[in-house]
């Protein structure tokens, strides 16, 4: 591994390419390499570096749920007691219908601290998942709301560079 040859400039450039998406050709990393005037091996090593640093969470196809028919997107927000957050967060994370689960800061007048994203082909299917979670884990007393999205103004990967 010739990591010493991986400049920070290459890492920044590569991150930009990876968030835009690989060119759909047989040797995508070689094509990126030619843009940056480095070798294919350098680019692959740089991807390894980003992977090993935990910067890349996933490398692969990123789908648009809406275009796949999963047009109903519910963000469920829960007010979960602090000492139960880790347990329930772990439980939610294993639920196949939940695509994201985060703990976030509470705010004045906004008691919710756990957020789950659920995509469904119908509004009812999203509500069903939430109801099932409530009864399965005894969350009847846990305040929660489902915020359905009615319009998407922008969807793309985060631009960090």
């Amino acid at each position: 591994m010739k990591n010493y040859s991986i400049s920070s400039g290459l890492l920044v450039d590569l991150r930009r390419e990876l968030q835009k998406g690989l060119p759909l050709v047989q040797k995508p990393y070689a094509e990126i390499a030619s843009r940056f005037n480095v070798s294919e091996e350098d680019v692959l090593s740089a991807v390894d570096v980003l992977n090993n640093q935990g910067i890349i969470k996933r490398l692969g196809l990123v789908v648009r749920h809406r275009e796949l028919g999963f047009v109903h997107n519910g963000m469920v927000v829960w007010d979960i007691p602090s000492d139960n957050v880790n347990y329930l967060g772990g439980v939610f994370a294993k639920e196949p219908k939940i695509t994201l689960c985060y703990q976030r800061a509470r705010r004045d007048g906004w008691p919710y601290n756990v957020y789950c994203m659920i995509h469904g082909k119908s509004r009812e299917s999203v509500i069903d998942v939430v109801n099932r979670l409530v009864s399965e884990y005894g969350l009847e007393d846990v305040a929660h709301e489902i915020l359905f999205s009615t319009q998407r103004f922008k969807q793309r990967g985060g631009l960090y560079v």
Binding site: K57, R66, L68, L159
Partner: protein, 153 residues
Amino acid sequence: MGAYNKDIDEVDRVLINLAQNYKPVTARPFLELAVQLNMTENAVIERLKLLDNAGIVSRYGAVFNHKRAGASTLVAMSVPESDVASVVECINCFDEVNHNYLREHEFNIWFVVTAMNQKEVDEVIFILQDSYSYPLMDLPMEKSFFIDLGFSI
């Protein structure tokens, strides 16, 4: 909206499910997929291009770990319906903004701000707070419970 669903055949479905979770750092990632799918490399590439053109996939690329990759936060704003369009236009002007959604709630505009560092994230929020008097909540992530493995269809 969802109309493309009918055009997805079984091969697309298997390809989409596999290609989301596959993490090949090899020179020819589509060849690796092709072998697993018993297809040719070019056939995989052509299908991915079609899915890309149809808008079904946004990219074959990286999903970054927000905490490691830089700074990010979720922002909620409560904006009267009459002003939503112009506020959204302003919000979307920022390169730092992605995933901007209208939601059914008093807090109706929800978007993610990402940047290389916290200062740049805070600047976007400051500008929006300065430009509009509408209620705004900055809701930074404290913990992620999910490793995003993609979305099974």
